[in-house]
Assembly symmetry: C2
Homo-oligomer: 304 residues x 2
Amino acid sequence: MRIKILGSAAGGGFPQWNCACPNCRRLRDGSLRGRSRTQTQLAVTSDNQSWYLIGASPDLRQQIVSCLELAPETGTPSSPITAVFLPSADVDAVMGLLHLREFQAFLVFATPAVQQILKEENHIFRVLERAKPPVAWFSLPFPGQPGRAGANDLRFNAVPTGGEFPDYVSDELRGTLPAEQAVVGFILEQSGKRAFIAPSLSGRRPEWKTWAESSDLVLIDGTFWSDDELIHTGRSKKTARQIGHIPLSGPDGLLAQYPKSARGRKVLLHINNTNPILDEESAEHRAVLDAGFEIAYDGMEFDL
Amino acid sequence: MRIKILGSAAGGGFPQWNCACPNCRRLRDGSLRGRSRTQTQLAVTSDNQSWYLIGASPDLRQQIVSCLELAPETGTPSSPITAVFLPSADVDAVMGLLHLREFQAFLVFATPAVQQILKEENHIFRVLERAKPPVAWFSLPFPGQPGRAGANDLRFNAVPTGGEFPDYVSDELRGTLPAEQAVVGFILEQSGKRAFIAPSLSGRRPEWKTWAESSDLVLIDGTFWSDDELIHTGRSKKTARQIGHIPLSGPDGLLAQYPKSARGRKVLLHINNTNPILDEESAEHRAVLDAGFEIAYDGMEFDL
């Protein structure tokens, strides 16, 4: 399988439109050694013909237009994009569906809870019904459950990674939704190779370590360096853990908790604009590389 | 007043992600003499400090990040964007509000019907309530009505330009909404100067001619060259007029109907990817220029 990173930043991207934190300010004035990044978005193929999107980022139009492999071939509509896999109902995971409103039929895979949120409380996603046939929705299978998503011999499974339903969901609906359907990661398997993709990892459920240990490629939550990062930079009053992200640093952080026996490539994804690892001259950037992690960037690509 | 065009294409932009019409195909392979364009978005200021957005395009993050004047100055959040004026509830006019979800307080001006559509049937826009204070919504004043939008001596008024509520609105809600609140243009006035901005003009209501005649700058619907353009290129089974756009050509088209006595600059905006005027070597491009019109492009700017 082939995996392309079309976007590698957390919600809002890097720089964020209204943020003047040290990273964003220095990126704008050219004094930061580092790269701008669009919001997290992956594209996967097993045959270089059909492409599957993981996530539907707010920057998706820009990301597709700048990716040659995703250009339509002939006729119209004729995009090679055949399915979209949604990890959650967060704005930065679903807003991009609205970019795909141009009369194109494709499949959407999401947990039943995420589907309910979009269909029952957000009529704007009905624009996807204008395609003929309309966009078709399917439930994501969890490992061991019946059901299957994918094509050829590429198989997708969802794994709950902890985390919350978005704030915008009504209290009435939220009360009826199973917590494990809020945020998922993905296991991709083909030809004996496995990729584990978890842009949002709460760290509250231990299964992630098993998947990290047994995968050839792990694309994993690198949102925040420290638990209080958003508070320090004035962006929020909540900690990283409170909004569903295990921070990289600290004794309970991702770097320390990552299984020592894991042999696959490990790549940090979904990096927030406030994260000091975005500064390639920082001690934190160095620490992450020294721990054997790579840092995802827009345009990075993997062949498994 | 100063008006910047951040985006000049119709919904989907140019090229469109899944379109291989002659324009899109030739733009991709480099054989078209013409420019790529993001979706229609304007920014207006009267003091070079506070900026007002007209529309909230799906490309808004990209558009803000590439516009130096819209960068935040100090602290966070500290964007110079203070208000957003919505011309309709169409996806390409409102989706960009979701790009502005990063804890920033600003004002949104829209007709009561557009507000109802977003608030009652689309909970995802509640992300704007996370700002402290939350984003505040106001009704757009029509000319002659009490109420006022703007700052310093810059005044905004809305004028109905005909057109439909979007397909995604439920039949129940649609039945209760006044038709003249579906799609509006804007009259901007300051220091004796007037701009008329109508990216969607149905041509069904005659008032637009009065506004076009009496304005120093007219930014007006250049979506389609011909009424059957979408049908010819296989993008839809509807005509331009059926979806609320007067075409440029023909005896009842915009070029022929435009008031001869108008003295202001006249600029075509909201240009669809299928429109032959995007090809700078086409007869249609030449015909538009010969008729005294300019064709908007991303980055175009006006001082009044």
